[in-house]
């Protein structure tokens, strides 16, 4: 095969490479070609940029739409079984279901925190690209500088929660191996924290962040969640990170991250959740930066609900609703 046709064949594999969906042999071929072809390495960067651009059109259903769906379903279920003894309580129940991302799910598959982890480690390194929000700012302190040095430049390919509460991690490195441990295990922890930050696949980052939210009492994990909230390009990842941080909305670092979300996040759903997390504890102390952000929001926020909540919060602390 000529060099140019070889390049073309390799480039056709880039999308599947970034999704982590190539076989071992296919990855080997691409990786060995990339080692010696600067043009293809540049083309791979191009493909990563394309992935980021595609991330930008993801739609997050508004809380209002989700609520309407739930109310409609509730009515449908009432009609299905009108004799049900719990029907009378359904309306109230559905109202209370609002926004599970804030409320937290009880299903175990989504909360494997603190459980035994099983790690299936894969092969090959260096295919991940940081899923960073190019419009955001970097937060998260030391976490930002963290990497997978202890794992020989390996990259986390996939993570999944297991039915028994354990965590399974697929890791790309130079050979395949499997290790097991729990979230207190340093290796497991480093891998998860790294995957949340560096994995190219937004789905993998979202799943990792979901797992980490179960142990948000730990400072390093909170730092990772703050980083994801401030920097991840994926709306889903940012929402999941915020879910993990909601119990810590009184902490200055978290408050600051939420304030920044209000001012700079482009997604209305994320801003809506941020203001809900901030306003969930009436009477809590707000730092000056947060108060300033709320006042600024009164001028620039397009969404009526977010603006209304900002105003309510400012009223509750007897602050003016404008910037003077």
């Amino acid at each position: 095969m000529s060099e140019s046709s070889n390049c073309a064949a390799v480039r056709e594999q880039f999308a599947l490479l970034l999704y982590g969906e190539l076989s071992f042999d296919e990855e080997e071929r691409v990786e060995s070609h990339l080692d010696g072809c600067a043009e293809c390495r540049q083309a791979l960067e191009h493909q990563k940029a394309l992935h980021d651009a595609i991330d930008g059109v993801a739609v997050t259903p508004s809380p209002a739409l989700l609520n309407r769906c739930r109310e409609d379903l509730s009515a449908l279920l009432d009609r299905e079984h009108p004799e049900s003894g719990i029907v009378s309580g359904m309306r109230e129940w559905w109202r209370q279901l609002w926004l599970p991302a804030v409320g937290g799910w009880k299903v175990r598959v989504l909360r494997p925190a603190g459980a035994l982890a099983l790690l299936a480690m894969g092969f090959l390194a260096a295919k991940a690209t940081p899923g960073l929000n190019i419009f955001g700012v970097n937060q998260g302190g030391a976490y930002q500088a963290m990497g997978l040095g202890d794992f020989g430049g390996a990259q986390v390919r996939n993570v999944s929660a297991q039915p028994d509460g354990s965590v399974r991690i697929v890791l790309d490195e130079t050979r395949q191996r499997m290790i097991s441990g729990n979230l207190d295990d340093r290796q497991v922890r480093v891998l998860l924290l790294s995957a949340a930050k560096d994995a190219a696949d937004p789905g993998l980052r979202a799943q990792t962040v979901s797992i980490l939210t179960g142990d948000a009492d730990a400072e390093d994990i909170r730092q990772a969640l703050v980083f994801a909230l401030a920097n991840d390009r994926s709306t889903d990842v940012r929402l999941k990170a915020m879910e993990g941080l909601k119990r810590f909305a009184g902490e200055p670092v978290v408050q600051s991250a939420l304030a920044r979300v209000l001012l700079s996040d482009e997604n209305t759903g994320v801003r809506t959740q941020a203001i809900d997390v901030l306003s969930a504890r009436p009477g809590q102390d707000l730092d000056r930066q947060t108060v300033g952000a709320l006042q600024e929001m009164m001028d620039r926020e397009d969404d009526a609900y977010v603006r209304e909540q900002c105003e309510r919060m400012l009223r509750s602390i007897k602050a003016s609703s404008g910037i003077y």
Binding site: H51, A64, L77, V87, R95, G103, V107, R108, N267
Partner: protein, 205 residues
């Protein structure tokens, strides 16, 4: 007061319920257990439908029909696949039906012509806001428009596989299970979809 103001009873933290237990309870007629299952998955079903169909009304219909079918057929669920796979199989089939119907009708799902001009129904959905550098906004707006156009031109199956892999983060093996096809077929589908995206968006990135 906004619609969110009436809600928010935060569920008990740390109370973990095994999914299989919930399913069995729901199969035995426990409505609360069924509602818990809905709550665990409905946001992702709605997001999937919304991203695939790009129409809040159609996404709402798919949401209702999906969970109604789950409710009516839960007795037939035998744990031979995960509940998530089973649920997504129902939701994706309904979405595919919608997409195929549109293809037959040559429907333009998101754009309406009104006396005031053209209106994109997705404008009612939370969108990016104007902020910061206007040139950057214009540029990202152009990319977004092109991505939407290209997604609309994919075949229903390509669109479905792309959505499930890129936005939902499902592995191809799982996508094959959900769509009732092989991993290899899903992979080919994803390959075609990404090639089309690359061709259409090459000049922007």
């Amino acid at each position: 007061m906004g619609p969110l103001a009436s809600k928010r009873a935060v569920p008990d933290e740390g109370t973990e319920v095994d999914e299989a237990e919930l399913i069995r309870a729901a199969q035995a007629g426990d409505r609360a257990a069924f509602e818990e299952l809905v709550r665990a998955y409905d946001k992702s079903v709605l997001r999937l439908a919304m991203n695939l169909l790009r129409s809040p009304e159609d996404a709402r219909d798919v949401y209702q029909e999906t969970f109604l079918r789950v409710y009516r057929n839960l007795q037939q669920f035998r744990f031979d696949c995960s509940f998530h796979t089973w649920l997504y199989r129902i939701a994706t089939n309904l979405c595919l039906d919608q997409l195929r119907k549109r293809k037959v009708r040559r429907e333009e799902p998101t754009v309406l012509t009104t006396p005031d001009g053209t209106l994109d129904r997705m404008d009612s959905v939370p969108e990016e806001r104007v902020d910061g550098d206007p040139l950057r906004h214009l540029y990202s707006g152009q990319i977004r428009k092109r991505v939407k156009e290209t997604l609309a031109q994919l075949t229903p199956r390509e669109k479905m596989v792309f959505e499930l892999r890129h936005y939902e983060g499902l592995r191809l093996k799982r996508i094959g299970e959900v769509l009732g096809t092989s991993e290899e077929a899903a992979k080919n589908c994803l390959f075609r979809a990404t090639q089309k995206m690359r061709t259409a968006l090459g000049e922007f990135v």
